[in-house]
């Protein structure tokens, strides 16, 4: 009797164009072929072009003297500095404007976003007008407006407009008093550090106690009080003094004080106002995403108004707000490259502009610039993913 093989057998794969498996392999082979082919073609063309133009390649230019000046830098830079120093100046200037911009845009954006949700008709309408106006106008146009139409039409130095607190504004930029700290001030900084450390300690202790006993402790007020007292005492005892060096108008220019170039002021203004409108929308969406049931449930549990916001609404809203907020921060950082258009010496201006023109190393310079933004972006998203995983809703 012939035995019948009843064991399940994997179907024999015979080659057929109708089989998705084989088709997948063919698609991939075609894609790989096209991509590798085009890359080879581009490399080949580039090599031929560079040879024809008698250009060299490589990153050795970074260690040559730059021979150009940069109008604004956080550390000394002049014609005899190297190209890598120019790169660093551009990078620090980009980071500087991004940090200032993010700081102000967050404050303004949260204010406007909350104002849009206000029950006060006039306030919410004004916030809506702000958001809808600013969002729909290109950032570059806004930068041009602030720089060419506002700051460049400011009066000359001798007719400077005087603002409160010894601040002056004119064609050459914004002049603000410069805070000066004497040697004893180190003690005050130390006091501040001790105060903040105590604050953190108290908050850890309070959380442990809350988890163990359920008793609450006013962490914020205590921490603030301790920090203020410690700082105040060290200030008094050490006899530290903080003075302001105000800008004083000489015959031709201001002496003393801190000079902020108009390019920086215009860029910070433009970035802040533009990004704030997007942050406001993010904040509004986040708060609205917390369902009204949460508010009602908190009220039903008898939670106080302030606690309701702090413990129920805000944590849930932040979960929605933080991811798009980070991408707004990233956008602001990337948008700071538009400073090149108004002459603020940030990375694109210094490196992709001047350095590229002088050295002609197009590929290296652009690759390095893109690499900087790539690293900034990827590290931020990595941080973001970590945070997201931490606050994500734990579903059971």
């Amino acid at each position: 009797m012939a035995s019948i093989d009843t064991a399940p057998r994997a179907p024999q794969r015979s080659f057929s164009l109708n089989d998705p498996f084989f088709r997948g392999i063919i698609y991939q082979a075609i894609t790989a072929f096209i991509v590798i082919g085009s890359i080879a073609w581009i490399v080949n063309n580039t090599a031929a072009n560079l040879k024809a133009q008698n250009k060299t390649s490589g990153f050795d230019f970074l260690w040559k003297t730059s021979g150009f000046d940069i109008s604004f830098s956080l550390f000394p830079f002049d014609r005899s500095s190297f190209y890598w120093e120019a790169f660093l100046v551009g990078l620090t200037n980009t980071i500087l404007v991004a940090v200032i911009g993010i700081f102000f845009a967050t404050i303004l954006g949260f204010t406007i976003g909350i104002a849009r949700l206000s029950s006060n008709y006039l306030v919410s309408r004004l916030a809506t007008i702000y958001v809808e106006t600013i969002r729909n106008i290109p950032l570059l146009l806004q930068l041009f407006f602030w720089y060419f139409a506002v700051l460049k039409t400011m009066p000359a130095v001798k007719d400077s407009i005087t603002l409160p607190l010894d601040t002056f504004i004119n064609q050459r930029g914004l002049f603000v008093p410069k805070p000066l700290f004497d040697d004893q001030f180190a003690w005050v900084w130390l006091g501040l550090a001790v105060g903040i450390a105590a604050w953190i300690g108290i908050s850890i202790w309070a959380r442990r106690r809350l988890e163990a006993t359920g008793k609450r402790f006013p962490v914020f007020l205590t921490g603030l009080a301790i920090t203020a007292v410690v700082v105040g005492i060290t200030w008094l005892i050490s006899g530290a003094a903080m003075t302001f060096d105000p800008p004083v108008l000489n015959r031709f220019n201001f002496k003393g004080g801190l000079e902020l170039p108009p390019e920086l002021v215009a860029l910070v203004f433009g970035l802040t106002i533009y990004t704030a409108s997007f942050i406001a929308e993010t904040v509004r969406g986040g708060i609205q995403s917390v369902s009204h049931g949460q508010t009602e449930a908190a009220q039903a549990l008898g939670i106080k108004e302030g606690d309701r916001l702090r413990l129920v609404i805000v944590p849930q809203a932040m979960r929605v707000i933080i991811p798009p907020l980070t991408s707004q921060y990233l956008n602001l950082t990337k948008n700071s490259s538009l400073g090149a258009a108004i002459g603020y010496p940030e990375l694109v201006n210094v490196f992709t502009g001047t350095t590229l023109n002088q050295t002609g190393r197009a590929i290296e310079v652009i690759a390095l610039t893109m690499l900087v933004y790539l690293v900034l972006s990827l590290s931020t998203s990595a941080l973001m993913n970590w945070y997201n995983a931490r606050v994500a809703l734990v579903e059971r």
Binding site: Q28, N120, N136, I137, L141, F148, A149, L338, S377
Partner: protein, 374 residues
């Protein structure tokens, strides 16, 4: 008898009727003067409006020089916006350096855009397929021939001479029409099970999204000529188009991917169970639902693209903003408010375009909001 119980022995005094909840006074009370803090806010807001509106009105209308005015009128003290400057340079802002005798050609292009575009946008107009073929296939060819000329007896106009609003619109329309399909393909590639395709798509999307558009355009303007075989030159407009489209498609891909992830597995499985292959499943089941979910995101990208066209000055195109910026230095209209007026004009044009796009998307969201209403 214990006296813990309380029994009311006399009538409680009647309370006054609650305040009206309708009418002007009630509305004012609810929306402007609900509490002490609210009243303070309202007063501050009124003061702010009173502080900002009269000077703004004075600048834009009250003290402004209307179109047709002279430059001398714009040079007096405390003058408002110099609309006369806009009025006299409006042709440059619309056409750039396009030869004046050939203005009818861009005009036909604008007219075609409106005549073919408007019926596309209004859902109740029939013949959508024919319309789409005309808009996406016929119109680009006709427009290219019309604008660049060189055949059918038309004078040749190189793209360097195109400019102003014309360039802004061309780049936006081409960018919008090309970046959505490209973005969908990239999103499909990113979701694909084929490892090579997937890796390439992820690498492209993440790389492009990480860098600012300005560097992509620098690359298009400086490195593209290096990449091409010797002797070939890439048209400047083409560089701008390629740069803007590729940039926007990466963002579009992420939006579309978000929509595709929002669709339950059941939809994929149901489609496969019905015997639909990959492309049919994607085209008829997945994408229609996915795209519906992400209309706000897609339109948001369209608006960013429209605003980003202002960066094409990097590759040397004179778009609307660059045209305005150039003319703001024109000596013959030099006056205190010249550049402010120019930028306000450009801002108004961009604003009208972007705002109408966002309103139109709101309309579609409501129209497609089927079955999810509570």
């Amino acid at each position: 008898m214990s006296d813990i119980a309380f029994v009311r022995s006399d009538m409680a005094p009647s309370k006054p009727a609650p305040g009206s909840t309708t009418g002007v006074a009630a509305w004012l009370k609810q929306n402007l003067f609900a509490s002490f803090g609210d009243t303070v806010l309202t007063i501050l807001a009124i003061l702010f409006v009173a502080w900002i509106v009269p000077p703004l009105y004075g600048f834009v209308i009250g003290n402004a020089v209307p179109p047709g005015g002279t430059v001398e009128q714009c040079r007096v003290e405390n003058v408002g916006a110099c609309w006369a400057y806009i009025g006299s340079e409006i042709e440059f802002f619309i056409y750039g350096f396009y030869p004046m005798s050939e203005y009818w050609r861009p005009n036909i292009v604008f007219a075609l855009l409106v005549l073919l575009g408007a019926p596309m946008l209004i859902p109740s107009v029939p013949y959508k397929v024919i319309n789409a073929v005309a808009f996406f296939l016929v119109m680009p060819v006709v427009d290219t021939i019309l604008l660049s000329g060189g055949m059918f007896g038309l004078r040749e106009v190189p793209t360097e001479q195109w400019g102003g609003l014309l360039i802004t619109l061309i780049i936006s329309v081409v960018g919008i029409s090309c970046s959505l399909p490209l973005g969908i393909l990239l999103a499909l590639g990113r979701q694909s099970k084929l490892p090579i395709v997937k890796t390439l798509c992820i690498a492209f999307i993440e790389l492009v999204r990480a860098v600012p558009l300005i560097t992509v355009l620098f690359m298009a303007s400086i490195m593209l000529p290096l990449f091409m075989p010797q002797g070939t030159s890439v048209d400047k407009l083409m560089r701008a188009l390629v740069g803007v489209t590729l940039f926007s498609s990466a963002y579009m891909a992420e939006v579309v991917r978000g929509g595709m992830q929002a669709i339950g597995r059941g939809q994929y499985e149901a489609a496969s169970a019905l015997g639909l292959g990959y492309w049919k499943r994607t085209a008829f089941i997945i994408l229609p639902q996915a795209l519906k979910h992400v209309i706000p995101g897609i339109v948001g990208n369209f608006i960013s693209l429209l605003k980003d066209t202002s960066l094409v000055y990097i590759v040397g195109m004179k778009d609307l903003l660059e045209a305005v910026k150039t003319k703001n230095d024109a000596i013959e209209w030099a006056s205190p408010t010249q550049s402010v007026t120019g930028y306000i004009f450009a801002a108004a044009v961009y604003w009208v375009m972007c705002f109408s796009i966002s309103r139109y998307s709101r309309y579609w969201e409501n129209r497609l909001n089927t079955g999810h209403k509570r």
